[in-house]
């Protein structure tokens, strides 16, 4: 089957005076597993429904395989959608649910039987054709919804929070299944979620949306390592932020006068115009922590602080360290017998120079 691309060009949509999508531009490659990530109200579901044809943008284009489909009604788009609630019809059996789209396409009976059988087998529910949807577990319902959608061989597959109604273990398992199925079918897939872990583990690339604006598009690691702004930085993982003013004077390099703390020497690659306010960002795991009196590695940038709280999370311990007016999260990998820092103890925090980023608001 031919793999197709999906493109949004300057898509704008508002309900009354509320702007839901503001000039959205996206290029989704053929065969890609693409995630739309954002908090509720960010417009991600609206964008998905717009691609499916359930709402229409006021301006801009939606191109499938290079063709603008904006004027086409949902029933002639051949875009499959799996709904958050699954939307399985309770009055039809599992088999009839899956056969629905084929019947609408006036496919002959033998083919329907063959294709529905194959689709149910693909999702491992061959034995469940006679059941009613409400006799199935959540995970099974999810599979039926998926089978019902892929049986019509859509050009594009849309998934609206497909895993949100499942419990945690099942979610991880379904995630793997979804991904392997997508790889096998080579189907361009767009996947809406508010769960960053879900997006990062599955997506080839993802777009982070906030307030109807695409904040950043890229591979999960790119967004994690080089977020363009504080929103993306905090939505994809946790980011410590230190605001301050850059002083270019003095050698060997510039310093950042962190608000309420004092000067922090900046590594050479962190150039910034002098006398500008800047936001310095770094991840909790890019810090090393030592007791206050211990020797400091001169390659790292050091600050002093006091431990406020600690949370033991198994793989690591997350400390909250007070540095002046700021609270900094510090993750220390955990091994058996490892030194623990006491709450209210004074510590030194070392920042890995290569892990520092400037962030805009």
């Amino acid at each position: 089957m031919k793999k197709v691309s999906v493109q949004c060009r300057h898509v704008r949509l508002s309900y009354g005076s509320t702007e839901v999508l503001k000039d959205v531009d996206l290029d989704i490659e053929p065969g890609e597993f693409f995630a739309l990530l954002g908090p509720s109200g960010s417009g991600k579901s609206t964008l998905l429904r717009l691609i499916a044809g359930f709402s229409r943008q006021q301006s801009g284009e939606v191109l499938i395989d290079g063709v603008d489909i904006s004027a086409q009604p949902p029933w002639s788009r051949n875009i499959g959608m799996v709904f958050q609630s699954y939307a399985l019809w309770p009055h039809l059996s599992v088999w009839d649910n899956v056969a629905f789209g084929l019947v609408e396409r006036r496919v002959d009976r033998a083919t329907v039987r063959h294709k529905v059988g194959a689709a149910l087998e693909l999702v491992g529910l061959s034995a469940f054709g006679d059941r009613r949807p409400n006799q199935l577990s959540g995970g099974q319902q999810q599979r039926v919804a998926l089978a019902r959608t892929i049986v019509i061989e859509p050009q594009v597959l849309l998934l609206d929070e497909p895993l949100s109604n499942l419990d945690k273990t099942l979610r991880v398992q379904m995630r793997q299944e979804l991904l392997s199925m997508q790889r096998r079918l080579g189907l361009t897939t767009i996947f809406v979620t508010h769960d960053q872990e879900e997006a990062m583990t599955t997506a080839d690339r993802m777009a982070v949306l906030d307030q109807g604006v695409v904040q950043q598009v890229g591979a999960p690691a790119t967004l994690y390592d080089d977020p363009v702004n504080t929103f993306v930085a905090n939505f994809v993982g946790t980011m410590n932020l230190l605001p301050g003013r850059v002083h270019a004077a003095g050698t060997p390099a510039a310093t950042l006068q962190v608000d309420g703390v004092g000067d922090l020497p900046l590594p050479a690659q962190m150039s910034a115009p002098a006398d500008e306010r800047q936001m310095l960002g770094f991840r909790p795991q890019s810090l090393q922590m030592t007791d206050a009196g211990a020797a400091r590695d001169p390659q790292w940038l050091w600050m002093s602080g006091r431990v406020e709280a600690s949370e033991f999370l198994g793989e690591f311990t997350r400390y909250r360290v007070r540095v002046g007016p700021h609270s900094v999260a510090v993750d220390q990998t955990h091994h058996a017998g490892q030194h623990k820092f006491a709450v209210d103890g004074d510590v030194s925090l070392g920042l890995a120079p290569s892990q520092l980023r400037w962030l805009s608001d």
Partner: protein, 586 residues
């Protein structure tokens, strides 16, 4: 995004029936209350109906037999009545569905002002009993009625709308279609919009979308409404009698009992058949509903999305609604015209107008109006007392088998008025009031009790709903402050339930005010006749039509005011609970 729905769901989680307030044994007062309720239900519902069944299955000397049923089906008239009743009830249901389904679909699907009009349409017919409008309908749609006179004049054709059984079907279907409309509208509203979108996504639209997805999902609501229409029409006595169609089951039962006598077994056979059909229709709808909880709105989902109508579509919709509105309102209009008409015969509209009929009614029938007010308020009062007691016993005590009280009380829905009346007459035959020669069955108390039994399910549902809104902790707080059970009920529970109790009272009152089938058998003297009986009596003669219609208009006014009041009370009660619901969602 999911939290509000989850919170709302939590709010709706009701204390399960039988949840004990305190794990102590059942108190003597509870036993007494239960015994009184059970005594009432046995004396005025179970035993009379049981007596009807018993009489249908025994010979005069008491030996069991099915001979009466064999006799029933070997009599041509009985067989014809049976088939006619089936035919009328089925065809009325179909016509009612034809009116109601498009209207329900319009309100849910389209965003237009006509929706309010339809909501009004939905209650208008119910405020007037069908037998009141029947005569007026004959004057409008009958052989020499307004419509056919005009049609004959213009096109030389006439339509046999009111001929024979057609008339019964016509009057019944335009009267009872709201049952389908209301049930179906609720069912359609509860469909998750994603159900429809999923179908559109798979290539389905238009008519196919309606028939393959939307209607099947709303089917339980439709069946509930349609079976209600079937039962109501099957049991209706007043309309066929007023229209002179006696070859139906209910009129036959009435004629047998009143003309042949209380000993004639045919009346009992018919009663049994009517109850069996009522129960069958209700069982059918319960079966359809069972396991099909199609209230599918789910997390993050809204109902079906509304569309704006195209100008042409709006025109068509308004035309359809306008036509239905005109037909639905014609009995009301007809009764009003009739009550004001000096002479109305062989002309599209009355020849002259007068207020004389109202004067007549106030002069002759003020007793009837008083009777209606007296019987109905007593019956409705009895209903809410029973309703509150039963609700309390079910939800606040650990009384064994307490659900049975609810079931028995609700079972009276399946008992047609005429059957209950026959049961009363038979069971209490020859019993006199203590110390007098007055027969029990000749007193108005019987009429009042029949009303109370038949309307009890309505009041009970209101009281149950009201009690479920009151959290147990409110009563526990009162008890911990030293109030006894009885005082807690009086000072905390009943005031909190007041809205629901009042709504239950009004519903019982207004539906009792227009009840005819039990009234007609139990009224033994004109001095005890309520309005419904008076209307029926007047309508029997051509000269009485005017005053009958005037009395009908008064009855409509009483019922309309009651409906309006109960609506207001329910709305107010709901809005009182709304703030807490909002808090829970925030």
């Amino acid at each position: 995004m999911n939290t509000p729905t989850a919170a709302a769901g939590g709010l709706q989680a009701r204390p399960r029936p039988g949840r004990p307030v305190a794990a102590v044994g059942v108190r003597p007062g509870v036993w007494l209350a239960a015994a009184l309720v059970l005594g009432f239900l046995l004396l005025f519902m179970v035993l009379p109906v049981g007596r009807v069944f018993y009489t249908a299955f025994v010979e005069a000397d008491g030996t069991p037999t099915v001979g009466h049923f064999v006799a029933f089906f070997s009599q041509g008239l009985m067989k014809e009545s049976f088939l006619n009743s089936l035919y009328v009830a089925s065809v009325s249901s179909i016509f009612a569905a034809l009116i109601a389904v498009p209207l329900a679909y319009f309100t849910v699907r389209f965003d237009f002002r006509g929706a309010i009009l339809i909501q009004t349409l939905g209650v208008l017919p119910l405020i007037m009993p069908p037998f009141v409008g029947a005569v007026a309908m004959q004057l409008i749609f009958g052989r020499s009625g307004s419509l056919n006179l005009l049609l004959g004049e213009w096109f030389g054709v006439t339509l046999p709308i009111m001929e024979g059984l057609n008339g019964v079907i016509f009057v019944e279907s335009i009267h009872y279609f709201p049952f389908i409309l209301m049930n179906l509208t609720v069912a359609l509203r509860n469909i998750d919009g994603a159900m429809e979108e999923a179908a559109m996504n798979l290539g389905c639209r238009g008519w196919r979308l309606f028939w393959r997805v939307i209607f099947p999902l709303a089917l339980p609501g439709f069946v509930a409404g349609a079976s209600l229409v079937f039962v109501k029409v099957f049991d209706d006595l007043g309309t066929p009698l007023v229209l002179g169609q006696t070859n139906l089951l209910a009129p036959q039962a009435y004629l047998r009992i009143t003309q042949v006598g209380l000993e004639d077994p045919m009346g009992y056979v018919i009663s049994v058949i009517m109850i069996v059909f009522s129960i069958a229709a209700m069982a059918l709808s319960a079966r359809v509903l069972k396991g099909r909880d199609y209230a599918t709105t789910q997390k993050g989902g809204g109902s079906i999305r509304r569309r704006r109508l195209s100008p042409l579509g709006a025109l068509a919709a308004y035309a359809w609604i306008g036509a239905v509105l005109l037909i639905v309102l014609s009995p009301h209009l007809g009764v009003l015209l009739l009550s004001l008409a000096q002479v109305w015969s062989f002309s599209p509209l009355p020849d002259a107008y007068t207020l004389a009929h109202y004067a007549t009614v106030f002069q002759d029938s003020s007793g009837m109006i008083k009777n209606t007010l007296l019987y109905c308020s007593l019956a409705a009062g009895l209903d809410v007392i029973l309703g509150v007691t039963i609700a309390y016993l079910i939800f606040r005590t650990t009384l064994p088998a307490r659900q049975w009280l609810d079931w028995i009380a609700t079972a009276s829905l399946a008992v047609p008025g005429i059957v209950l009346a026959i049961g009363f007459l038979r069971l209490y035959k020859g019993i006199t009031l203590p110390g007098t020669d007055t027969l029990l069955t000749s007193t108005w108390v019987m009429i009042m009790l029949a009303y109370a039994v038949r309307r009890l399910p309505y009041a009970l549902r209101s009281c149950v709903a009201a009690l479920q809104q009151v959290h147990v902790s409110l009563e526990e707080a009162a008890e911990s402050l030293g109030a006894t059970k009885l005082r807690t009920i009086r000072r905390v529970l009943v005031p909190l339930m007041a809205g629901g109790i009042l709504a239950g009272f009004v519903t019982s009152f207004i539906t009792a005010a227009v009840e005819l089938s039990a009234t007609i058998l139990l009224t033994s003297a004109e001095s005890q006749a309520p309005m419904s009986y008076g209307i029926y009596l007047y309508m029997q003669s051509v000269a009485g039509r005017g005053p009958g219609a005037a009395l009908g208009v008064l009855a409509i006014v009483v019922v309309a005011i009651g409906t309006y009041l109960s609506h207001g009370v329910v709305e107010r009660t709901q809005s009182r609970f709304a703030p807490s619901a909002k808090e829970a969602q925030a």
